[in-house]
Symmetry: C2
Subunit: 148 residues, 2 copies
DNA sequence: CCCAACTGGTTTCAATTGTAACTGCCGTCT
DNA sequence: AGACGGCAGTTACAATTGAAACCAGTTGGG
C-alpha cells in the first residue's frame, strides 16, 4: 500500500539496459559514421563473419532479431556489397547468405574495433569479475542455449 | 589482417544488450498490456515515484533519455492522468512534475511487479554473484556517478 | 496427384524515434 | 531599458520499427 521503497538503480533490467547502452555507445558511433550501418546490420554482418554462411532464418534465431529486421538489414548489406545471397538448390525459399570479400574485410575492421572498445570497457575491472560477468550474462541472455 | 577469430557471444556490448532485452521482456509485457505504457513512460513514472517531483530536465539527466522522449512521455502520462505538471514560480520555463494519486498507485503496482520479475530473474544465481553483477553494471552504466 | 496448411522471406501501413528547428522565458552586458 | 545568447520544453519532418498481410515454394494427408 505505502511506497514499497523501490530503488531504481538496483533494478536489474534497468541496470542492464543502461549498462548496455553505455557500453555500446562508442562502437555504435564507429560503425555508424564509418560504414553507415544500423544495429541490425552489424549484427547480421558479424553473424556471417563469425559463423560463416547461413540463412536469414538462422540469423533471426541466433541473434534474436525479428525477421523483418533481418530482411531489411540483408537488403541494405547487399546494396552496399557487403554480402551476397544465393538461392538454395534443395529448397528455393531459402537464401544462403555469405560475405563478399569487401564484407569480410569490413568485418575484420569492425571486429578489431570491437575488441579495442571492449578492452577499454573492462580496463580497471579485475579479470575475475569480467569472467563472472560474462558467464552470468550468457546465462541470462539465453545465448548459452543456442547451438551454432 | 587475417580473421581475428572474433567470438560474438563474448563481446560485452552484445552480451549486455541481449541480456538486457531478455531481462526486460516480461516486465515490458506487463506494463504494456496492463497500462499501455512505453519504455520511456515507465521510466519517467519510476523516477517520479522513486525520487519525488522534479523537472523534465532532471529526468533526462538521471535516466539518460533524450528530451524529446521525455517530453512525449510526460505528455502521454499526463493524458492518462498519471502525473501533473506545475509551473515553477521562480522560473517559468521549468515545469515541476509529480505523480497524481492514480500515478502513485500505478507506480506501486508496477514496482511490486518489477520486484517479482527481478526475483524470478536472479533465482538460481548465488547472491554473491548478483551483488557483484549489480556493482559492475552500476559502474559500467555510469549510474553510480549521478547524484540524486 | 492435389489441395490445405505451413515456411522463408518481403512488403505495406501505422506507430515510434531522432534530428533539427522553434517557442517562450531568463540572464547579462551595455 | 533592450538586445543577444542560452535554456526548458515542444513540434515538424524524416528515418526506423513492428504487426500483420502477403507471395512463392514446400509438404503431407487423402
Amino acid at each position: 500500500m505505502s511506497a514499497p521503497n523501490f530503488h531504481l538503480p538496483h533494478f536489474l533490467p534497468y541496470l542492464l539496459n543502461q549498462a548496455a547502452e553505455a557500453a555500446s555507445h562508442e562502437f555504435q558511433a564507429y560503425y555508424r559514421t564509418r560504414y553507415g550501418m544500423l544495429r541490425a546490420e552489424w549484427r547480421v554482418l558479424f553473424h556471417l563473419g563469425c559463423y560463416g554462411e547461413m540463412s536469414a532464418k538462422r540469423v533471426c534465431e541466433l541473434a534474436s532479431l525479428h525477421k523483418t529486421k533481418v530482411s531489411r538489414a540483408v537488403a541494405a548489406l547487399e546494396r552496399k556489397r557487403f554480402l551476397a545471397r544465393e538461392e538454395t538448390e534443395a529448397d528455393r525459399r531459402i537464401e544462403t547468405l555469405s560475405l563478399t570479400p569487401h564484407g569480410q574485410q569490413t568485418f575484420e575492421d569492425l571486429s578489431a574495433a570491437a575488441a579495442r572498445f571492449e578492452a577499454e570497457l573492462v580496463q580497471g575491472l579485475p579479470p575475475e569479475e569480467v569472467k563472472l560477468l560474462r558467464s552470468v550474462l550468457l546465462k541470462m541472455s539465453g545465448l548459452d542455449q543456442k547451438r551454432i
